[in-house]
């Protein structure tokens, strides 16, 4: 028992140290592009965590989560741009709308009677419907997208001159999401979600209200994804239907989760740490010619990782740590 406690304490200290380190990094490395990459890593890590609640723990792979990302982005953007609504409020409203849409989809309309491949393609269809609707919705700018006006550098309206404050806000939200996910995973809901993933009929036979928990997971992930969408809009200051409703966003969420390992809590974070810098740096070094070589390279790297380590990188790290642990005993 003493050994276990020591390990737990050690772990917690490591965790706090890492958080402090992350807070300090951007202060020491003042490269603007690096800050941009950090911000994208943090945003996508959060998306990955939220997606993984459904994809990894519940086992329902969605390729349409961009729907909620876009709802969050457009809601807060339009409210701020057209009505002067404070973005913090806009974020909450966007998330609320996202959850409402999620409930409309899941209750009995979508019914969650879809499973596996049908669910994946169904959510894909949904994502595409959202994108097409947005492209043709002239009030929100249609295919041309919308610009968010720069008013002042201020925390209250989430606009800043430097990138740093963005990073800290987004990173704090990532930590919050991580805490929420950790709480869920170690709770009754967490166990139930995994049971549903393994065998829905058995779970039901053992008293699990599968419908209720499927919906919960769906709403929670939609909520968080929408918030990240709003953050994204405030950061980029320009959004269009392809950027926020496009299939790439949906697929990237899944990609990040699986690269890092969708059966671990921090898998998506690791996945984001691998995928996003790869994507951004390849783009900045090679992509300049506009011929898309960067995406070829990216595709090859992703393919290699998936082919040879399908359990994700987190699994690699876990086994490595386990081996080290055993060596030290």
């Amino acid at each position: 028992m003493v050994m276990v406690t020591k390990n737990n304490q050690k772990n917690k200290i490591y965790q706090v140290l890492i958080v402090i380190l992350v807070f300090l990094i951007p202060l020491f490395i003042r490269n603007i592009f690096f800050h941009h990459v950090l911000i994208m890593v943090v945003l996508y890590a959060t998306l990955g965590l939220a997606w993984n609640l459904m994809g990894g723990y519940l086992g329902y792979v969605s390729f349409g989560h961009a729907t909620f990302f876009g709802i969050g982005a457009y809601t807060s953007a339009i409210l701020f741009r057209n009505f002067g609504v404070n973005p913090w409020l806009g974020i909450i409203i966007g998330a609320a709308i996202a959850v409402t849409v999620a409930s409309l989809i899941s209750f009995p309309v979508f019914g969650f009677t879809l499973r596996g491949h049908y669910f994946a393609i169904g959510t894909l269809a949904l994502g595409e419907i959202s994108r097409i609707l947005a492209e043709n919705f002239n009030y929100i700018g249609g295919a041309r997208g919308i610009l968010i006006p720069l008013k002042a550098s201020s925390f209250s309206i989430i606009q800043f001159e430097s990138k740093l404050p963005f990073f800290y806000i987004f990173f704090t939200f990532l930590l919050l999401t991580l805490l929420i996910m950790n709480a869920i995973v170690n709770s009754k809901m967490g166990y139930y979600l995994q049971a549903i993933r393994e065998d829905e009929n058995v779970a039901e036979a053992l008293g699990v209200n599968t419908t209720k928990y499927k919906h919960f997971a769906f709403y929670i992930s939609a909520f968080i994804v929408a918030i990240v969408g709003s953050f994204y809009a405030q950061y980029q200051l320009y959004i269009d239907p392809n950027m926020v409703f496009g299939m790439m966003i949906s697929v990237q969420m899944a990609l990040i989760a699986i690269l890092g390992g969708c059966n671990t809590l921090i898998g998506p974070i690791i996945g984001a740490m691998i995928f996003i810098p790869l994507s951004e740096y390849i783009r900045s070094f090679i992509g300049g010619e506009g011929r898309g070589i960067n995406l070829i390279v990216l595709g090859i790297v992703v393919l290699i990782i998936i082919l040879f380590q399908p359990q994700g990188v987190a699994q690699l790290i876990k086994s490595f740590i386990n081996k080290e642990g055993r060596n030290n005993e």
């Binding site: 709770s187 009754k188 009929n201 036979a205 053992l206 699990v208 599968t210």
Partner: protein, 250 residues
Amino acid sequence: MNNALLEVHNVTKRFGGLTANKDISFNISKGQITGLIGPNGAGKTTLFNLITGTAIEGYSRLPDEGHVIFKGNNITGLKPNSICKQGMVRTFQNSRCLDSMTALGNVMIGALVRTSLINDAKKKAVKYLETVGLKDKRNIISSNFTVADKKKLEIARALATEPELLLLDEPMSGLTPLELKEEVNLIKDINQKGITIFIIEHVMEALMPIADYIIVLDSGEKIASGTPKEVVKNPKVIKAYMGVDYAIIS
């Protein structure tokens, strides 16, 4: 018959042209071990599915006719999780474990029906694992278990839901003689603790000695019921099985 924990009234289920269950009625008395036997394809598992509200691939969960009463409440058509909460739980024929979870995790799922606290559920799970003799293997991923251990795990998991009525679907299949003995003793133990048991089984020499009451199905109909001794002598039953030697029963 006021001791009836479960009442099945005129239950009928058709799958297209096939009548899997036809006008089946019986009662399960509290505290007893009741067996459900019959040749393959008689409709036993269908009956279990209907009683517990288990989803049937491609068809509705509900019986076409008839109703089921548990502890005086009509549970016809309720979902399995509601029925489980009321105190009836079933195991599955092919030992469906939650593969990627440990034995402990599996049993905790059962325990979580009665408590929302993880630590509580863990303690209860360990207790039930001990009852079936799997306590030492509790941290092993269940997909690695042998057939016999998986069956024990299923039972531990079902017990963790603290049922009054336990439905076992062919718990003896695929076991060696030694494992069979263990399994039979386990079932007797569980029954002695006050849990009513309803078993589908083919392994007669294991079932007959412990059952208080037997119901026999053939081609979807109930053809006989009574004590094991009565049923064994019933000509309809003998005919249905066509030559199975029942002389083994003492």
